[in-house]
Amino acid sequence: MDDALVAILRSGTPLVYVTLAGVLAQRAGIWHLGLEGLMIIGACSAVVGTVQTGSLAVGLLIGIVLCVLASALLWFVIEILRANPIIAGLGLTGLGLGGTDLAVQAIYGSQASVTAPFGLPRLGPEFGAFGVLSVLVVLMPFVVFGVWVLVRRTRWGLQLTACGEHPFAARSVGVSPSRMRLYALCLGGVLCALGGAELSMGSLQIFAYGMTAGRGFMAFAAVIFGAANPLGATAAAFFFAIVQALGIRAQLLFGDKVPHDLLLALPYIATVIGIWISGRLRGGARAATAFGELRDY
């Protein structure tokens, strides 16, 4: 039981951090499909920064700075150049995947993965089975609570939500939606860097090309699933982590009877069903008009 809980916390924590970043962006009115790219930038710079400087703190800091810069670039493209957020986000994801690949090749030659000498600090053996968990796992509930307070219990959070739901209303009381989106995206960049660092340094201490493997998109799905509520989205992220853990468990139990690759598809299928149900409960999603705008230059 403890082992299962540890497995879920380990696979769920990176997802939760990135999901919270998505929640902030979603609240500000941006569909954030660049989460995958930010996450892999965070994962890569945590490992590469630690290897190059020998200091974990510097590695983390580099990751945070790069993710915030990338988020600011996304904001510039979306808000100032008025690009379509979905395509621009996918572009940022591609830039993250390609850029980290290039960075690793430029520094280490044609090497498939980079191993860090040490990972994030762990809880230690006195915690039994939970001793392998990193500090970011311990920090996670507080971050979730913090984001919840920020979004639901502060003036800033209310203004942020207004910017997403009714930018005109926000502007009419003197809140600049554009600036709020910049804040939300940059704060999300910090969270993505932490999520990526937990992914690469939390248990494996390794960075490999494309190691996020769609987790950023899964986090985005969790945001939608959880209706952009920090607590709901966190629950959705853990739901995906549990489904994934169940898939691995089912494979151990049933062996060859159930194909492994189809079990890996369970979280994605669960996402589709979840979005479908939540859409039915809350009424339709985005109106079909959203894309038409793109073509009327």
């Binding site: 150049l81 996918l90 940022l92 998109f217 189809l262 598809a265 994605y268 589709v272 339709g284 230059y297």
Partner: protein, 347 residues
């Protein structure tokens, strides 16, 4: 800046920005940017062999991009081209593998039908969810990509596995010589003919039929179309299925032609590049043809870079991503707008 020429100009500028950004990243990473651009040009367009390669990569991309054009024109954000491409290829491989031994004139048409149906059906369920219950198609088609990718891994290591495979990347048995429509890694007259026919068909459909006009209106102003009495859901579904079927057709061609078999993880960026092509072409069928050849050239150069110039193939991914980042931009920054003497559109 609002005429067709202005749009072409704008697209070109953003493509150039993408190239420049990639060049800067390359210089920062310690590689030579001029060498990279020179190698890309050599690998894509500067010899007959390079042109053949560009066509080999560009033509399947053209078909998938046409599918994206059709569904985007309807106003639906079908970003599942990758999954539909895979599902078409998988369905085609099942048919060509299962009917091996039958005469080619029976098998090849059936394979194409299966590929079209595979891609079309994989686009049908997100379409149905969208028009019946308003489930957002961005997420469903995105998830569909992951599911299809895993399904491809499953069939190539399960039901369709080549027993003599070396175990590197799982793949199906090679398609028998009699069913091939082109040599390995090359274009063939058959593939060019299919692309020209489909291209003409798509142009007529988009520009000269009621469906094309209505779907284009639906993409711009769905409410007006509903008031005029057209069935928005039926238009949208048709767009989804047609788009998926074209992606499936591209998958079929890859299986019967250049690749010659189904392998797990094949062409992982095909769908993303196709979306990019459709957007750079500003959703015009004619422009899609040219843009597809350009991106086909980039794809061909991506294989050439590491082998002959010793540069990482990630360059092409970065160029594509940088173009994607900027291509949908609708406004110049204020200063630039002043510089070009253009008024900024409403905030």
């Amino acid at each position: 800046m609002n005429g067709p020429l202005g749009q072409v100009f704008r697209a070109l500028v953003y493509v150039l920005i993408g190239l420049a950004l990639c060049g800067i990243i390359f210089e920062l990473a310690g590689y030579s940017a001029p060498l990279m651009f020179q190698s890309i040009a050599e690998g894509a367009f500067l010899s007959v062999r390079a042109w053949q390669n560009s066509l080999r990569w560009g033509l399947p991309l053209f078909l998938t991009a046409l599918g994206v054009v059709i569904s985007f024109r309807c106003g639906f954000f079908n970003i599942g081209a990758q999954g539909q491409f895979y599902m078409g290829a998988i369905a085609a491989t099942f048919v060509v593998d299962g009917l091996s031994g039958a005469p080619a004139f029976v098998v090849i048409p059936l394979t194409f039908l299966a590929g079209l149906a595979g891609g079309g059906l994989w686009a049908l369920w997100p379409g149905l969810l969208r028009v019946k219950s308003g489930t957002d198609e961005v997420i469903t088609t995105l998830m569909g990509n992951f599911i299809a990718t895993l399904f491809l891994v499953y069939v190539t290591s399960g039901p369709l596995k080549d027993p003599s495979g070396t175990g590197q990347a799982a793949s199906s048995r090679p398609v028998a010589e009699m069913y091939r429509i082109g040599a390995a890694n090359a274009v063939s007259p058959a593939i060019i003919a299919i692309c020209v026919l489909v291209g003409i068909g798509a142009w007529v459909l988009v520009n000269r039929t009621a469906f094309g006009v209505l779907s284009s209106l639906a993409g711009r102003n769905p409410i007006m179309v509903v008031w005029q009495g057209a069935k928005l859901s039926r238009l949208g579904l048709a767009g989804f299925v047609l788009g998926g079927a074209l992606a499936g057709l591209a998958g079929t061609i890859e299986v019967l032609g250049p690749i010659g078999r189904l392998s797990s993880g094949m062409l992982p960026t095909h769908g993303f590049t196709a979306i990019l092509i459709a957007l750079v072409a500003n959703l015009s069928v004619l422009a899609t043809a040219f843009v597809a050849i350009f991106f086909g050239g980039l794809a061909a150069a991506g294989l050439y870079l590491p082998v002959l110039a010793g540069l990482p193939a990630a360059a092409i991914d970065i160029i594509n991503a940088a173009i994607a980042l900027f291509i949908t931009a609708r406004a110049w920054p204020k200063r630039l707008a002043g510089f070009f003497g253009q008024r900024r559109s409403a905030p």
